[in-house]
Symmetry: C2
Subunit: 428 residues, 2 copies
């Protein structure tokens, strides 16, 4: 039997302790499945005195994760600290420079520095694995990189921030406005210290950029992800979208177009009867579309001790089994520099506006839409509320530029109250 | 760059031609992702003269798949012929004996001979891969064997026969009886030559037995799968189940219990709002439950040229990349001999019966159920149809034995018309 695989674990928060538990509780199972034992030799965290729900007495302790990363008795450096600069970055770089394999749950680090880290690791013959960085316990990196490797990937989609999906589905089920549910989520501890990482779409955008790199063989380009958070989503839009058979999701979409790589993480409408529309609460979902396989949907817990530690251990056990692949599925030196394409793939749009109760108001809006080259699929005018009438329109496929053009024409009609809302309907 | 990986392809039906197309169309992509070229050197099928929608002129031809399996210019033997005896078995055995790796889509072969084949392959240092054998294009074997390797698997469930799910969902959507939809499916070419492979649950049972072997580290034991087909499912039950918030699925469930390994492929009720309940048409779904990860749901096409060839190519590309794992995730010599447990895990049950319009009829039935030790969760009596009244009951958790006991007591009540129906409700 080969020598034990020795892990150095940097970060003893929820995920780190989850890893400690699995390595301890499932030692026999891990050995049966990998043909070797897997042991933790050393750990690192800022505060040694903190009470943690695990026996750490058998592990060497390093206060500095960089020192942990360099230890001779560590084969695999596990980074579950978080943060895309500072200790996480320095320690990961040190681990690679010291010839260690790396398993990380750090989406921000890889979204910002993934390409440089992959180049460094591959130059050293080392691997970086990051299943835990995307969609928690769902083994989607593996499915995309390996299971669907024979496909040209057409599109990758995902609801990958559980907090946003919790907020949106809770708004609908309880009929509450955004601010109130946001506050609930904060009190429940669902939000990052900087809530904009969640509700601004940044965290989910990090994840999308990693999926896109694998899917399209391109360098990670998080800066090119079009980001729009959920803060502007109103309970009215959630309810009206439901009336029209849709749900609103913070949906990530990456697809290669003739103009380049589109990456967006924005609120979208999806059909209520598609698995994406049916997704409730904090659960994550990733949709992979390949030219041969068609559409694969994967659903599961996107965060938490067990699911994230499960993903970390899947990577560790691959390394124990001798599975060694390039970080993004092909050598980092061969990844293309993507042309960042402004999102221009046509889609139906949901438009909501309030009209004054004037003769011909609706006709004027319809005319403006037609003049922008957009045709209307469905239109619904609700009963007047005082002198105002809410109107919903679902268009046929149009580009965002066309939609903006139509909206700019609305002003001249003189029948509009307030600003119209336009949300893309992703065809799934 | 390493030498090309040379494939010998046995079977030129839909799936085989799908593999030919991917290898041809995606040669550059495959090389970028695996670091080597992948080529087909030789093919085999019964009828060389048959017109096939692919250029086969560059490949050597063998009429006998055993001869193909033994060729010196073949590294990987791909078996997409089907059948669990005869040429498929002989050729697979010959390939292993000749030191080839094997990629197969043949669930029947592995369900019957998987353990012996795995032992033979591992003794030779060869791998057998079978992603395409279970749930078509869904990379579930990989997710279970690798992605969730750090988990003790608690339960595996799946809707893995698209024809059955098509029939059941079509019965509901069109309000048609089983026989009529079965005939439709036959005319559409959805059914195997022996339809009992589909509607009898055998094909799906084969798949379940393979998942169970990986999940629980046990020898494949298809003979221990409790099989019950969908032929007895009536449109009445589908409609009444829907009334109670359920859908009827041919659901496979494997779980390790204190009594041994339960494996069943039987009609079950599942909640209409769970992804299993929402699954329409020929799509497949597999649910994996691990102690750390919780519940992972995977959904995708379970058959067809593209999806199945995608799965075959995922396996081929793993081999090209040097990924080499035991067939069932741990060495075949270490797989346990499972104790086949009679299904006795308690579950709620759906009961449907018709009662005579007599005073106290419902009370007598309720009493009989209570005397069998079962408590009733919900009961619904419909309006009388002549002198008969349909009654639905959803019980609290009970064993099948208890349910059978209750049913045997019904006869003595003298209020029952015909035979009651009892269907397990799987808690998901």
């Amino acid at each position: 039997m080969p020598a034990p695989l020795r892990l150095g674990l940097a970060g003893l928060g929820t995920v780190g302790i989850g890893v400690v538990k699995i390595v301890h509780d499932h030692a026999a199972l891990i050995e049966a499945r990998t043909g070797r034992s897997v042991v933790i030799t050393a750990v690192s965290a800022r505060d040694r005195s903190k009470n943690r729900d695990a026996d750490l007495s058998g592990f060497a302790w390093e206060t500095d994760p960089v020192a942990l990363a360099k230890r001779d008795d560590v084969d695999v450096f596990i980074e579950v600290m978080g943060g895309h600069e500072g200790p996480a970055r320095l320690a990961t770089e040190a681990a690679i420079a010291s010839g260690k394999d790396v398993v990380t749950a750090n989406k921000a680090l890889l979204a910002h520095h993934g390409h440089a880290l992959a180049l460094a690791a591959e130059a050293k013959g080392r691997v970086i694995r990051f299943e835990a960085a995307v969609a928690g316990g769902i083994p989607v990196i593996k499915a995309l990189t390996e299971g669907l490797a024979g496909n040209q990937i057409k599109r990758v989609m995902g609801v990958m921030n559980g907090t946003c999906n919790y907020i949106l589905t809770r708004m609908q089920s309880a009929g509450l406005p955004y601010d109130q549910v946001f506050e609930e989520a904060r009190q429940l501890g669902y939000l990052e210290a900087d809530p904009n990482l969640d509700v601004g779409g940044i965290d989910a955008g990090h994840k999308l950029s990693l999926l896109a790199a694998i899917a399209f063989g391109t360098k990670v380009s998080f800066d090119a992800v079009e980001l729009e958070g959920i803060g502007a989503i109103s309970i009215d839009d959630i309810n009206h979208a439901a009336d029209m058979g849709y749900r609103i999701k913070l949906l990530g979409v990456a697809q290669m177009t003739g103009r380049g790589l589109e990456q967006r993480m924005t609120p979208c409408l999806v059909p209520a009867d598609h698995p994406l529309g049916q997704l409730q609460g904090g659960t994550n979902m990733v949709v992979l579309e390949g030219d041969s396989v068609g559409q694969i949907v994967m659903r599961g817990p996107g965060a938490g001790m067990g699911p994230t530690a499960s993903a970390v251990m899947g990577d560790v056990m691959d390394i124990a089994r001798g599975v060694r692949l390039p970080t993004f599925g092909q050598p980092a030196t061969t990844l293309a520099s993507p042309i960042a394409a402004k999102v221009a793939t046509p889609a139906p749009y949901y438009l909501r506006m309030t009209l004054l109760d004037k003769p011909g108001a609706l006709a004027k809006i319809a005319t403006a839409i037609g003049e922008a080259g957009i045709s209307i699929d469905r239109m619904r005018q609700y009963g007047h509320q005082g002198i105002h009438a809410p109107v919903l329109i679902v268009t046929h496929k149009a580009t965002r530029d066309d939609v903006n053009n139509a909206i700019s024409r609305f002003a001249a009609t003189g029948v509009l109250v307030g600003d119209p809302v336009a949300i893309r309907i992703e065809e799934v």
